[in-house]
C-alpha cells in the first residue's frame, strides 16, 4: 500500500491529523510545569534549546572579553589580570564544550526530529529523556557553583594534571559538574540507539533512514562508549584531590601522561560527537535545496560510522609533545590521516549532490555553503597539526585555536545555525525574514574569518595560546582579530533577533516550505503532540525527488499488506 503521506513535497496528510500542536497545553500540567514535566521529545528538545543557547550567550560574552584583553600588547591593567584571564578561558572552554557544543544538535534538534524522521511518536524512553535534561541542568548548576567557591577554575577546559590537582581553585566542583553532564550525554545516546533500533516505522529500513538519523546513530555510539571514560577520569581527579591517592600526580607515584591519555580517549571522540550531527544536517539540507537525492547515500551513511570508529583511535595526536613514545606518535599520526578519508568522502558527496541539482539559494543552503568552506579550512589545518614535524612547532599556539574554532564554530555551530533556519519553520509554523537571515550570515561569515583567520598566522609566527599579553609584533593581527569578534557578535545578535522575531511574529508557513522529502515535512507545522495520527508506512528512499531522480523508481519495494 502506498502511503499518501510519503508523497514528496506536498505536505499531504496535514488535514487528517488532529489540530492540537505540541505547543498547545493538552496535558494535566499548566504553565511552566507543562514544559519542565513534559516527556514529549519535542518539548524536551526546546527545553534543551533554551538552556543551551543561554549558555552559548554566556560563552560568547566570555570570548568577547578575552579578545578585548588583547587591546594592547602588554597587560591592559584595567580589564583583566593574568589570573582572571586564566579563569576566563577555562570557563569559556567548559561552557562552550560541555554545555553547548557536545549536547548541541543531538539534544535539541536530534530530540525534536529523530522520532519524527523515523516515523515514531516519541523516543524509546521518554522519561529518561526528561531525566537527561535534568542531569544537564544539575551539571550546569554545579559548574556555576564553582564560581562561588575558592575562585574560578584556572586549568583550561582540559583540567590537565598535575596543575589541576595542585591549584587552589575549585576544580573539584567544576569537574563534578562535568561528571554529571556526562551521564546526561550517555542517557541521550542510549535513548537514541534504542529508538533507532526499535521504533522505526514499517518500511523504514536502515538504508531508508535520513542521513541525519545515521549521523545521530553514529554519535549515540560515541556518547555511550566514550563518555564513561571521561566520567571515570574525572572521578579519579576528585579522588586524587580529596584523598591524595597517587594516580596522576608524579609526586605521589602517579603518571600525568596517563591522565592525558584518558582525557583524550573521551575528548577526541567528543569532537566527533560535536561534528557528526552537523554533518547529518548538511546531508538533509543539501538534498532539499538541490532538489535531488544525496549522491552516495550509503557511502555517507557508512562514513559516519567510519568516522565514529576511527575517531576513537586518534586521541594521541593531542599528546605529541606531552612525552608519549615515538612508537605511539607514529601510530597516532598515521591514524589521524586515515580519519580524514571518511570526512573527505562526505564533502565530495555533498558537492556531487549539488552538481546538476536545481539549487535553491535559501538561507539554510547558504549556511551550508559557508560550512563546507570553513570546515575544509579547519580540516586541512588539522592535517597540518596531525603531521608530527609541523605539530611540534605549532602545538600550543594560536594555530591550534584557529584550527578548532574553524572546525567547531565554522563547522558545527554554523551548521547548527543553518539547521535552525531549516527546521524552525517546521517547529513553530512561522517563517523568519529571509533577507535578514542572508545578511546575518554574511556578517557572521566576515566576522568569523576576521576573528579566526589571523590566528593561523599568529600561531605560525609563534603566538602561544592562553597568554593574556603578547609581543608588540603581533599587535596588528591581534587587533584585526579583536574587531572580528565585534563583527561576529553583531551578526549573532541580528541572526538570533531575526529567528526569535520569526518564531513569535513571523508569517505563517505551510507544512513544507522548502519542498523537503523526509517524514517531518509530511506532518503539520508545528507538529501535533503525537507526531503522526497513524504511523506512516515508508515506501521510498528518504530523498525521493521523482522529477529529478527518475532512476530511483526502478526498484519499488513492497513493504506492507
Amino acid at each position: 500500500m502506498a502511503n499518501p503521506a510519503m508523497e514528496p513535497g506536498n505536505g499531504a496528510g496535514a488535514e487528517a491529523v488532529p489540530v492540537h500542536s505540541f505547543l498547545e497545553n493538552t496535558g494535566k500540567h499548566k504553565g511552566i510545569f507543562a514544559w519542565i514535566l513534559s516527556t514529549d521529545h519535542k518539548r524536551i528538545g526546546i527545553l534543551y534549546m533554551i538552556s543551551i543557547f543561554s549558555f552559548f550567550a554566556v560563552g560568547v560574552c566570555l570570548g568577547f572579553l578575552m579578545r578585548l584583553e588583547m587591546l594592547v600588547p602588554g597587560p591592559t591593567g584595567k580589564i583583566f589580570n593574568a589570573q582572571e584571564y586564566n579563569a576566563l578561558f577555562t570557563l569559556h572552554g567548559v561552557i562552550m564544550m560541555f554545555l553547548f557544543v557536545i549536547p548541541g544538535i543531538p539534544a535539541t534538534l536530534g530530540n525534536f526530529f529523530l522520532p519524527i524522521q523515523i516515523g515514531a511518536k516519541d523516543v524509546a524512553f521518554p522519561r529518561i529523556n526528561l531525566l537527561s535534561w535534568y542531569l544537564y541542568i544539575t551539571g550546569a548548576i554545579i559548574i556555576l557553583l564553582s564560581l562561588f567557591g575558592n575562585g574560578l577554575p584556572d586549568t583550561g577546559w582540559t583540567f590537565y594534571v598535575p596543575y589541576s590537582i595542585r591549584t587552589g581553585t575549585d576544580v573539584t566542583m567544576a569537574v563534578f559538574g562535568v561528571f554529571i553532564l556526562g551521564f546526561s550525554s550517555i542517557l541521550t545516546g542510549l535513548n537514541f540507539l534504542t529508538t533507532i533500533h526499535r521504533l522505526r516505522a514499517p518500511g523504514m529500513t536502515w538504508f531508508r533512514m535520513p542521513l541525519f538519523v545515521w549521523a545521530l546513530y553514529a554519535t549515540a555510539w560515541i556518547q555511550v562508549i566514550a563518555t564513561p571514560v571521561l566520567a571515570i577520569t574525572l572521578l579519579l581527579i576528585m579522588v586524587e584531590r580529596l584523598f591524595h591517592v597517587g594516580i596522576f600526580n608524579p609526586v605521589l607515584g602517579g603518571d600525568p601522561v596517563l591522565y592525558q591519555h584518558l582525557f583524550w580517549i573521551y575528548s577526541h571522540p567528543a569532537v566527533y560527537i560535536m561534528i557528526l550531527p552537523p554533518m547529518g544536517v548538511v546531508s538533509e539540507i543539501v538534498a532539499t535545496f538541490s532538489h535531488r537525492t544525496v549522491f552516495g547515500y550509503k557511502m555517507i551513511a557508512m562514513s559516519s560510522l567510519a568516522i565514529a570508529f576511527i575517531g576513537y583511535l586518534v586521541w594521541g595526536h593531542h599528546m605529541f609533545v606531552a612525552g608519549e613514545t615515538q612508537t605511539a606518535q607514529f601510530f597516532f599520526s598515521l591514524l589521524t590521516f586515515l580519519v580524514a578519508v571518511p570526512s573527505a568522502i562526505k564533502v565530495f558527496n555533498w558537492v556531487a549532490t549539488m552538481y546538476k541539482g536545481s539549487l535553491d539559494l535559501q538561507p539554510p543552503f547558504l549556511f551550508l555553503l559557508a560550512f563546507i568552506m570553513l570546515f575544509c579550512i579547519g580540516g586541512m589545518s588539522g592535517l597540518v597539526l596531525g603531521s608530527l614535524a609541523t605539530d611540534v612547532h605549532l602545538t600550543g599556539t594560536y594555530f591550534v585555536v584557529a584550527h578548532f574554532h574553524y572546525i567547531i564554530f565554522g563547522g558545527a555551530i554554523f551548521i547548527f545555525f543553518g539547521a535552525l533556519h531549516y527546521w524552525l519553520p517546521k517547529m513553530f509554523g512561522r517563517m523568519y525574514n529571509k533577507k535578514v537571515a542572508d545578511w546575518a550570515l554574511g556578517i557572521l561569515f566576515v566576522g568569523f574569518n576576521m576573528l579566526y583567520f589571523p590566528m593561523f598566522i599568529l600561531g605560525y609566527e609563534g603566538m602561544p595560546r592562553r597568554y593574556f599579553a603578547y609581543l608588540p609584533k603581533y599587535e596588528t593581527l591581534q587587533h584585526i582579530s579583536m574587531v572580528g569578534s565585534w563583527v561576529l557578535i553583531t551578526g549573532l545578535i541580528i541572526m538570533f533577533w531575526n529567528l526569535l522575531h520569526g518564531i513569535f511574529k513571523g508569517e505563517r508557513c505551510g507544512p513544507n516550505p522548502w519542498g523537503g522529502t523526509t517524514l517531518e515535512w509530511t506532518i503539520p507545522s508545528p507538529p501535533p503532540t503525537e507526531n503522526f495520527e497513524t504511523i506512516p508506512i515508508v515506501t521510498h528512499e528518504p530523498y525521493y525527488h521523482p522529477e529529478a531522480d527518475p532512476e530511483i523508481q526502478r526498484e519499488p519495494v513492497p513493504v506492507a499488506k
Binding site: 533500533h197 526499535r198 522505526r200 514499517p202 518500511g203 523504514m204 529500513t205 536502515w206 555510539w221 555511550v224 562508549i225 571514560v229 601522561v257 596517563l258 591519555h261 580517549i265 570508529f309 576513537y312 583511535l313 586521541w315 594521541g316 608519549e324 613514545t325 615515538q326 612508537t327 605511539a328 601510530f331 597516532f332 508506512i537 519495494v557 513492497p558 513493504v559 506492507a560 499488506k561
Partner: protein, 110 residues
C-alpha cells in the same frame, strides 16, 4: 528489510522475557557469585607474587574473566538476541583497541 523483519525485531522484545525465565536459576547466580569471589581472592593472592612483566597480563586476564561472567549471566547477554551481543562486542572491541594503543605509549617508554 521487509515489514516482516521489522515486525520480528519488535516481537523479539516480548520473547526475551520468557527466555530469561527459562534459563537463569538462583543456583546459577550463586555459583557465578562464588566464582567471582574466588577470582577476586586469586587477584589478591597473585598481587603478592612477583610475576615481573606478567603481573599486569595476569591481573587483566582475571578481570576479563570476571567481566565476562557478569556480562553473560548477571546481565543476561548470553541469553539475548544477536543484536545485543553485537552491541557488547563492538564496545568490547573498542576498549581492546584503546588498550592496545595506550600500551603503544606505555610499553615502549621503558
Amino acid at each position: 528489510m521487509s515489514l516482516s523483519v521489522w515486525e520480528s525485531e519488535h516481537q523479539a522484545e516480548t520473547q526475551h522475557k520468557e527466555y530469561h525465565e527459562e534459563h537463569v536459576s538462583y543456583s546459577l547466580y550463586i555459583l557465578i557469585w562464588a566464582a567471582l569471589m574466588a577470582l577476586t581472592a586469586a587477584t589478591a593472592v597473585i598481587a603478592g607474587i612477583n610475576l615481573a612483566a606478567l603481573t599486569l597480563v595476569v591481573a587483566l586476564l582475571i578481570a576479563l574473566t570476571k567481566a565476562s561472567l557478569v556480562v553473560n549471566y548477571f546481565m543476561h547477554v548470553r541469553f539475548e538476541d544477536r543484536i545485543f551481543k553485537i552491541f557488547f562486542a563492538i564496545a568490547g572491541f573498542t576498549i581492546f583497541v584503546i588498550f592496545v594503543l595506550t600500551f603503544s605509549d606505555v610499553y615502549f617508554r621503558r
